[in-house]
C-alpha cells in the first residue's frame, strides 16, 4: 500500500511555472500571461494586458517576428525553437527561446497564439561565442588563402616579367656573336648564351611550378598532327649551341604520330638534357634516344659520371631538391619536378637508373589517345 499522490496546483503551475506563458489574439494583443513572464518583463501583469506583444520585444526581434515568425505561424500553425530578445522595463534584453502554436477553433478559425518562453541567457552566450569563433576561423582561413594566392601570383608575374629583359640579353648576345671577336670574347659570349638558355628554362619551370601550385595544373594541348622528332632535334641543337664543348648524341626512331603536347615534351627533353649536361662528367657524351613502337613512346637521356646517391634518388622528383656538391649550378631544383609533372599529365612515367657506368632517365607513355 502506498500513499496517494499529492495533487498539483494547476493555477500555480501556470502562474509560477519555470517558463513564461503568454496568449495573444490573432492581431498580437496580449490577453493572458503568467507571473513568471511578467517578472522577466519587469512589469505587473495589468500593465501588459491589452498591449501588443511585439512592443515588449527588442527591435530586431520585433521585425523578425513580424516578417518571419508571424507568417510561419500562420502557415504551419506552430513554430519551434525560436530565439527572441524580450525587452525588460529598464531596457535590458532578456534572451529567450520560444515555441509557439496557434489555438484554432474546430472550423479552423485562429483564436489565440500561445507562446511558451524559456530563458536562454547562458545558451545565447554560448551560441554567440560559437558564432564569433567561426567568424574568426573563417577570417583566418581567408587571409591565409589570400596570402598564398598572392605569393603564387607574385612568382608567376615575376617569372613572366623576367622573360622580356632576358630576351633582350639573348638577342644582344646573338648580335655580338656576329661581330669579329677575340678568343676571349667568343668564350664570353658562348658562356653568356649558355646562361641565358639556362635562365630561360628556369623561368619556364618556375612559372609551371607556380601555376601547378595555383591549382590550375599543367594544361596540355595534345595532338598527333605534327611530327615530334623535329621538336626534339631543335631542343638538342639549342643545348649544343649553349654548351659547344659537350657532345650530345641523338638517335630518334619515331614511327608514326605521337599523341602529345609537343611543346611540353620539348620542355621535358630540355630539362632532362640540360640536367645530364650539368651532372655528367665533362668530356663524356650525353646520349638522347627517342623511339616509338607498338603504340608506346619512349625518351631516354643518359650521362656518365658519379651515380645519384640513394638518399637523393628517392626524392628526386620533389621540388627544391638539389644534388649536393654542385652548389649554384642547378638553380631552384625544379627541373625534374617539372619533368615528372609533364610525364604525369601525359599519363606517362619517368624512371631513373643510376650506376657507376651511367645515369639514365627514361620517360615512357602511350603514343595514342585514350
Amino acid at each position: 500500500m502506498s500513499d496517494p499522490l499529492p495533487t498539483e496546483d494547476l493555477a500555480d503551475l501556470y502562474e509560477n511555472a519555470p517558463c513564461g506563458y503568454i496568449s495573444l489574439t490573432p492581431d498580437g494583443t496580449i490577453v493572458k500571461l503568467n507571473h513568471t513572464l511578467a517578472q522577466w518583463l519587469g512589469r505587473p501583469v495589468s500593465a501588459l494586458l491589452s498591449h501588443k506583444f511585439n512592443a515588449f520585444l527588442s527591435f530586431g526581434a520585433r521585425i523578425a517576428f513580424e516578417t518571419h515568425l508571424a507568417p510561419l505561424l500562420r502557415l504551419q500553425g506552430h513554430v519551434g525553437e525560436i530565439a527572441l530578445d524580450l525587452l525588460g522595463a529598464d531596457g535590458t534584453k532578456v534572451p529567450v527561446i520560444a515555441n509557439a502554436a496557434e489555438k484554432r477553433s474546430e472550423d479552423g478559425e485562429h483564436l489565440f497564439t500561445r507562446i511558451t518562453l524559456f530563458k536562454a541567457v547562458d545558451r545565447r552566450q554560448y551560441e554567440r561565442s560559437l558564432v564569433a569563433a567561426r567568424e574568426e576561423a573563417e577570417t583566418a582561413v581567408l587571409a591565409e588563402h589570400e596570402t598564398a594566392v598572392l605569393r603564387e601570383q607574385f612568382i608567376a608575374v615575376l617569372g613572366h616579367d623576367l622573360r622580356n629583359p632576358l630576351a633582350a640579353i639573348d638577342s644582344g648576345v646573338r648580335l655580338l656573336e656576329r661581330e669579329t671577336l677575340s678568343d676571349r670574347g667568343q668564350f664570353i659570349t658562348q658562356s653568356m648564351a649558355q646562361s641565358v638558355a639556362r635562365a630561360a628554362l628556369l623561368i619556364d619551370n618556375v612559372l609551371d611550378f607556380a601555376r601547378g601550385r595555383l591549382g590550375e595544373g599543367l594544361i596540355l594541348e595534345r595532338s598527333d598532327r605534327d611530327p615530334l622528332a623535329p621538336v626534339l632535334e631543335h631542343v638538342a641543337a639549342e643545348v649544343r649551341a649553349a654548351t659547344p664543348n659537350r657532345i650530345i648524341h641523338t638517335d630518334f626512331d619515331i614511327e608514326g604520330p605521337v599523341y602529345c603536347d609537343r611543346q611540353r615534351i620539348g620542355q621535358l627533353a630540355a630539362n632532362l638534357i640540360s640536367n645530364a649536361v650539368t651532372h655528367g662528367a665533362s668530356g663524356t657524351p650525353v646520349e638522347v634516344h627517342a623511339h616509338s613502337a607498338d603504340g608506346r613512346f619512349e625518351l631516354s637521356v643518359t650521362n656518365q659520371g658519379q651515380p645519384i646517391p640513394d638518399d637523393i634518388r628517392e626524392q628526386l622528383f620533389q621540388p627544391f631538391v638539389r644534388g649536393d656538391g654542385h652548389r649554384n649550378q642547378q638553380g631552384l631544383g625544379l627541373g625534374l619536378f617539372i619533368v615528372n609533372e609533364i610525364a604525369k599529365a601525359h599519363g606517362g612515367t619517368v624512371t631513373v637508373v643510376s650506376t657507376e657506368e651511367a645515369t639514365r632517365f627514361t620517360f615512357a607513355m602511350s603514343a595514342m589517345p585514350g
Binding site: P26, D27, G28, K52, N54, S58, F59, G60, A61, R62, I63, A64, E66, T67, H68, L69, A70, P71, L72, R74, L75, Q76, V79, G80, E81, I82, A83, L84, D85, R124, E127, R128, V131
Partner: protein, 272 residues
C-alpha cells in the same frame, strides 16, 4: 541547337527561382514574397485567382526552395538584382500585360521590374510597400539607421528557425532535401547568411525617386498597425505614384495575405 540553348536557359531561370505555375486564364498574375518568407505566403490568395488567371509563384534566390548556389552577393547587393530575376522569369514565360503582386520589399522589386520591362506588367499591386524604411529629413520611413543595424545584429546572432534550407547542406546531403523536412519549420526557409544580406539590402533600400517614373496602374494595399510599413508610408507611396489607387485594409500587421486573405483577394479582384 539554338532553340535548345534557349529552352535550357528558360529551365535554368524557372528552376533557380522555383517557379510554380497554376490556374488558367488569358492574363497572368505573378506573386512575389517579401523578406522573411517564401512563395507559400501567397498560396491562399493565389488559389482564389486560379479559376480565371494563370498564377505564377516563385521564391527569390536565397529563400524557400530557390537555388542557393545561384546566390551572388554582388548581383543581389541591391533590389535591382532581384528585379532582374523578375524580368527574366517574365521573359521566360512570355509575359505581356500581366499583373504583378508584390508583398513588402517585393512591391519595390516589382516597381523596378516594371521600369526595366515596360510591356511586361500593365498593373501592379503593392501590399505593404515602403520605398525607404529609414527616416530621412522630413520623410518618415519608421526606422532609424541604428534600429536597422540592431536588426542586422539580431539576425546575425539568432538562428530564428530559418536554417531549414541550410540543414541538408550542413549535413553534407544537399542532394537529399527531404532530410531538411525533419526540422521544426518547413516554410519560409532561408539561408541565414543570405537572410542577413537580404535584410540589409531591404531595410537600407531607397526607391523613392523611382515612384514618380512609374506610369503603370498601381494599387496600394495598406494594413493597419503595420510596424514595417506604417500608414504614413503607404500614403506617401500613393501620393508619389502618378497612377495609383489606395486602399486601407481592415487587416492589421504586416502580412494581410496570411492574416486576411479574403480581404486582400477582394481588393485585388476589384482592381483587376
Amino acid at each position: 541547337m539554338r532553340a535548345n540553348g534557349c529552352a535550357s536557359q528558360i529551365g535554368m531561370v524557372l528552376e533557380r527561382n522555383n517557379v510554380n505555375i497554376n490556374g488558367r486564364g488569358e492574363r497572368t498574375m505573378m506573386f512575389a514574397h517579401g523578406f522573411g518568407c517564401d512563395q507559400h505566403m501567397w498560396r491562399g490568395v493565389a488559389q482564389a485567382f486560379e479559376a480565371d488567371f494563370r498564377t505564377v509563384l516563385f521564391d527569390h534566390v536565397g529563400a524557400g526552395r530557390s537555388d542557393l548556389g545561384a546566390y551572388d552577393s554582388a548581383k543581389y547587393g541591391d533590389l535591382s538584382g532581384y528585379a532582374d530575376d523578375v524580368v527574366e522569369i517574365g521573359t521566360a514565360l512570355g509575359l505581356h500585360d500581366a499583373i504583378f503582386v508584390g508583398h513588402s520589399v517585393s512591391a519595390m522589386i516589382g516597381a523596378l521590374a516594371a521600369l526595366k520591362a515596360p510591356d511586361m506588367f500593365s498593373k501592379l499591386v503593392m501590399v505593404g510597400p515602403s520605398p525607404r524604411y529609414v527616416d530621412d529629413g522630413d520623410y518618415v520611413g519608421g526606422f532609424s539607421a541604428e534600429q536597422v543595424e540592431e536588426l542586422l545584429e539580431f539576425l546575425a546572432e539568432n538562428h530564428l528557425g530559418w536554417s531549414a534550407a541550410m540543414a541538408p547542406a550542413i549535413m553534407g546531403n544537399a542532394d537529399r532535401p527531404e532530410l531538411g523536412e525533419a526540422l521544426t519549420n518547413s516554410f519560409c526557409a532561408t539561408d541565414p547568411a543570405i537572410a542577413r544580406e537580404f535584410a540589409r539590402v531591404t531595410f537600407f533600400s531607397d526607391n523613392r525617386a523611382d515612384l514618380p517614373l512609374l506610369t503603370v496602374e498601381t494599387l496600394v494595399l495598406q494594413c493597419q498597425d503595420d510596424i514595417i510599413a506604417p500608414e504614413v508610408v503607404g500614403e506617401w507611396v500613393h501620393d508619389q505614384l502618378p497612377n495609383s489607387r489606395y486602399v486601407l485594409l481592415n487587416a492589421t500587421g504586416h502580412c494581410p495575405n496570411l492574416s486576411a486573405p479574403q480581404e486582400v483577394t477582394a481588393a485585388i479582384r476589384a482592381f483587376v
